[in-house]
Amino acid sequence: MENLIRKLTETYGPSGFEDTIRAVLRAEVEPFADEIRVTPLGNLVAVKKGRGGEPRRMLAAHMDEIGVIVTHIDEKGFLRFTPIGGVSPLTCLGARVRFENGNLGVIGVEKREDPQKAPTFEQLYIDVGATGRADCPVRVGDAAVFERPFAAQGRRWVAKAMDDRIGCAVLVETLRQIEPVAGDVYFVFSAQEETTLSGAMTAAYGIEPEMAIAVDVTGTGDTPESRPMAVELGKGPAVKVQDAGMIAHPRVRDLLVQAAEAAGVPYQMEVLERGTTDAAATQLVRSGIPSGCLSIPCRYVHTPSEMVDREDVEGAVRVLLQALRIP
């Protein structure tokens, strides 16, 4: 999976600007899917046909990533920007960003009256090397992502956009390995999760599944002086019980636990106090869809260096394959 993860994490794709990452994912899933379609908001849906029975299930991993969007270009060609999704000004200091057209930008900061205080976005700007407005190679409304190469070290993988390209990689790998199960399985690579969850919400409306499982990253409590949380890197994929946006449907939660045990994959139970996933949106679609989430523990979420453990990732694939076989 390493090459796939490298490719997916290094691809451009902030929320609402998913054309490039969608094309990469499409090429990956095309040989293994029975049907492929793209929804009006740009979700990529790959269908693995079942043996003609029930239930119809949907898996969702979001292909969009956090980023920045240009709000103003000043006379000297410096860009002001605002975040797409949850970006901290702290991670912007010294960062490089890459635009869809390939242009690189460096994030700079104005003089700081009080160096003890974190800067605000209003104090930050992007320098694309322009000498003025006229030769600035980007426009207001252009979006960029953080630039950081993928790295593998020991048991860990580190990259930008691990949230949620690692979920995308788990879905691709699951699709590659899966034999037809009773019902149809919909692999949804969703758009616009980081901003509004609109992708998964509308995809679920179209698919009308009997169950929806999001595959996304979650935080950990295993780093120095971290916020307490009973999830650790390398202890297996996490079965979500609750996060800030939803309570996992007990049937989905129990199915994932049952699958992990049957597959002999170590797992952890997860309660996340901040943040949520596509499952928060899918559970409210139509008359309600039982929804849950299989999480990949991830350190440094929403920074350009998100770290996951390869055994957690590989374990997640095995749990999903097993869960889909359980009627």
Binding site: G16, T196, T202
Partner: protein, 345 residues
């Protein structure tokens, strides 16, 4: 169009109380729409069939409701206690004239005169819960009779001219309503037009949500009166939009990300015809598109707005040229719209 804008601007219509605005629009659209009806939440729908052989269903909304205040209590002395309907900056309230209820009982938002201020008081903003709306009632009973609990009120602002600009209340979003009415009244468009004048946008995009569900469109547009903050500032930083520089196209705001194909269509149309346009500063505000794009299996959506100075206050200013250019940009873009513009690969 200015006459319609005048009538719309002076109409009484805070969120949830849009009847008067709806009546103005109904009269304006009678005879122009193929079908005209009001739905359960109070949205006014105007349907007009398209002329193209392969028609798309195009939803366009503009919201009828405006910000206002609501009576939440009565003082012994006859004053009305109020809370905002929608987003109002407490600083714009003191001293304003209001129309209380659809019968337009005049009211004044009272404030202690400058002579009586105590030390330090002048530097503080008086919060809305500490303000009193004075309708000249003699006592609590009279106030309760004239303006019972729940009575809504709006700023009492007459429409008028200010140099090349026009002034009025609630250009957010009566400007959008005027543009949309003009689209319905003009020549028939190639695509099926579902023009919906929505309710309760200012309190959570509620009308648009059911309008989009009903219309089940192939794509959607929200027409708005948006923030123009082209005022002098210390640094060379982003104005949200500027007066007189044409319709403002949204790329992203708090509630949605515009469909790239539709943004491209609008920009290409404007550039090829020399219609002035600008991008609204990304990241701020929210419009009906936030609800429309999430309907059914998802709806490619875009927002186009007339820049207005001082919105969400008793009085805003707009440039009639921006209004005309917004109509023109929408009309020409809709004439060029094809399924290719909203196809994702």
């Amino acid at each position: 169009m200015i006459d319609l804008l005048r009538e719309l601007s002076e109409a009484f219509g805070p969120s949830g109380h849009e009847k008067e605005v709806r009546q103005v629009l109904r009269r304006a659209l009678e005879g122009h729409a193929d079908r005209l009806w009001v739905d359960a939440l109070g949205n006014l729908h105007a349907y007009r069939a398209g002329t193209a052989p392969q028609v798309l269903r195009v939803l366009i909304t503009a919201h009828m409701d405006e910000i206002g205040l609501m009576v939440v209590g009565h003082d012994e002395s006859g004053g009305l206690r109020v809370r905002p309907i929608g987003g109002i900056d407490d600083r714009v309230l003191p001293g304003a004239l209001v129309w209380v209820g659809p019968d337009r009982i005049p009211g004044v938002i009272g404030l202690k005169p400058v002579h009586l201020l105590e030390a330090g008081e002048a530097d503080k903003v008086v919060r809305v819960d500490n303000l009193v709306v004075d309708i000249g009632a003699r006592n609590k009973e009279e106030a309760q009779r004239l303006a019972p609990l729940g009575t809504p009120m709006v700023f009492a602002t007459r429409f008028g001219e200010v140099g090349r600009l026009v002034k009025g209340k609630s250009f957010d979003d009566r400007a959008g309503c005027a543009v949309l009415a003009e689209l319905v009244r003009g020549d028939r468009l190639p695509h099926d037009l579902y023009a919906v004048f929505t309710v309760q946008e200012e309190v959570g995009l509620r009308g648009a949500r059911v309008a989009a569900y009903t219309a089940h469109p192939d794509c959607g547009f929200a027409l708005e009166g948006t923030i123009a903050d082209d005022l002098p500032r210390k640094k060379d930083v982003s104005p949200t939009s500027e007066l007189g520089k044409g319709p403002a196209i949204t790329v992203m705001d708090r509630t949605f990300i515009a469909h790239r194909g539709l943004v491209r269509l609008l920009v290409d149309t404007a550039e090829s015809l020399g219609i002035p346009y600008q991008f609204k500063q990304p990241g701020v505000g929210g419009t009906d598109s936030g609800a429309i794009h999430r309907a059914h299996e998802g709806v490619p959506s875009a927002t186009v707005a007339v820049p207005c100075r001082y919105i969400h206050s008793p009085l805003s200013l707009l440039d009639p040229a921006d209004l005309e250019n917004t109509v023109r940009l929408m009309r020409e873009s809709l004439a060029r719209l094809t399924p290719d513009n909203i196809r994702n690969t």
